[in-house]
Amino acid sequence: MSSFIIRRLLQALLVLVLVSILVFFVIRMLPLDPITLYVIGTGNMDEEQIKFLKHQYGLDKPLYVQYYDWISKVVRGDLGQSLYYKDSVNTLLAQRIPITMYLGITSMIISISVGITIGMLAAIRRGKWLDNIVSPLSVVLICIPSFLLGIFLIFIFGMKAHWLPFYDLVLPWQNFGLSIRQVIMPAICMSALGLAMNARQMRSSMLEIIRQDYVRTAWAKGLTERAVILKHALKNSLIPVVTLVGMGVGVVFAGAVITETIFSIPGMGRMFVDCIRGQDYVVVQDLALVFGTVILLVNLMVDISYSWIDPRIRYN
């Protein structure tokens, strides 16, 4: 077990370095350097200013020195200065991470709990009304563009029915009741895809498991349905779902970009969009690294927990 973890950690470290190199050099493939592009974007070309900023950001040094400067600062927790927001990236992220985490955690709770429950019920009541609804509904949720879902929700529940507010999100510790009401629509929008994928995977793995011999034994020794499903079948059918839950974090990030744009929520996803539009490549580079690193760490955790749940994995 420990040798597996060590091997997996080393591999993750290598990929982390590769991710940072990829992010750094893709930004350097721009036709001009980030500073010049940003200054052109703002409209007032000033040679002196460009030269000053370039020197300040160290862009007059050779590439490998630039990479070293950037990565050594990042490792010490300093992500640099944003040109677009005129503030340090650390401060900006400190404001935005709680918002995206609030949305992301809420939607992951929905997609995991509802997805697993629905998938399980559909499997044990195969062919009944719930099962007949779940399959087509999950196809619809997988195929619908999340921005269309968000627009539908805003139009129906926000604009026509006036049930739910759809602007100026506040955090739960600022105004709990309002915050919960505001988060419903963005959370549905962000969790739809993950929910459908979890429900589908749970349904098919549950169907597989309840055909196993040990489940038949559990029935045969006279256990109630509750005990058979929750004590014997559920644990084993959750194994394939663990991978999906890991992927769910990626789905949340991609969903945050779209959802935060539709509901104008000032989170990390919105920041990524704004900085790309505002040509602030310093921040784009940092955010891409942050997204990549988080996903890498989540995948690492999924792999390790997976090998703990299912020991056969360690030897492959």
């Binding site: 591999q11 290598l14 990929v15 590769l18 991710v19 990829l22 992010v23 893709v26 930004i27 493939m29 721009l30 087509p136 196809v139 619809v140 997988i142 195929c143 619908i144 563009p145 999340s146 921005f147 269309l148 627009i151 539908f152 805003i154 139009f155 604009m159 990626g250 789905v251 990030f253 991609a254 970009v257 779209i258 744009t261 539709i262 990524f272 969009v273 790309i276 539009r277 490549y281 784009v284 891409a288 997204f291 990549g292 690193t293 996903i295 890498l296 995948n299």
Partner: protein
Amino acid sequence: MAIETSNAATLMEIAPRVSEFRRFMRVFFKRWVVVIGLAILLLIFIAAIFAPWIAPYDPYKIATGAALEQPSAKHWLGTDRIGRDSFSRVIYGSRTALEVGFITVAIASIIGILLGMLAGFSGGWFYIIIMRAVDTLMCFPGLILFMFLSAVLGNGVRNVIIALSIGTIAQYVRVMCGLTLSLKQNDYIMAEISIGAGSFRTMLKHILPNAFPPLIVLMTMQLGTLILAEAALGFLGMGIVPPMAAWGSMVNDSYIYLQTNPWLCFAPGIAIFLVVFAFNMVGDGLRDALDPRLRGLI
């Protein structure tokens, strides 16, 4: 004697082939959702090919006097903020969507399949390098990677295709590499190598055709995913930008008029949903019909 054996051989070879095709058709057309998906695809292809004849107006003609009209007999889906006919733009948008989807899948699958096959077949250092590169690209959620690449490449159809292609190559490499590794274990590959066939002949004549069924399913599903990704980029104001008729940017363009002119957003959005749904259903049908476990059973 010689004639007899060759006859028997041809009979044995030809007989399963015919039934294979009929079995494929029967399984493929059995599920009604697959048939619906195929019908939607057919409609969209017709819309894309015959766009100039189907669309009642020029999708790029600006008529500020007739801006933001409600749906009517004259303008089926109304007009957008500068008076362009929304129905005509949705029809022309199918061209953009299919163009981006097909070209991207072609580029990404050819490069990805070749790299994956070479990595899986040769093993060693090449395998390790390719696989770490794939891991690196796979660290980014799809949309984030597409946004990052298109931020650097800039807007326009060509750049979107490049960004989406680079972003999806890794998936083909991973799938093809896995398929090659498992196909390599088969006895007929061993036999082929032991009678002295070269690596390229083995790869092109034996591994590639046998890996084809799962790949064609992946490619079909990817068409939907990529059209969705292109629309998401367009919605975020990146990638394909106005005046070009593309569904994602149409939603972005008319989002602020949701309260008064909801159909300007709904129509292109539903078009995207239908295409993604159709490609997914057809992909699903192909997976069932190409499933080797069913071979010889039905």
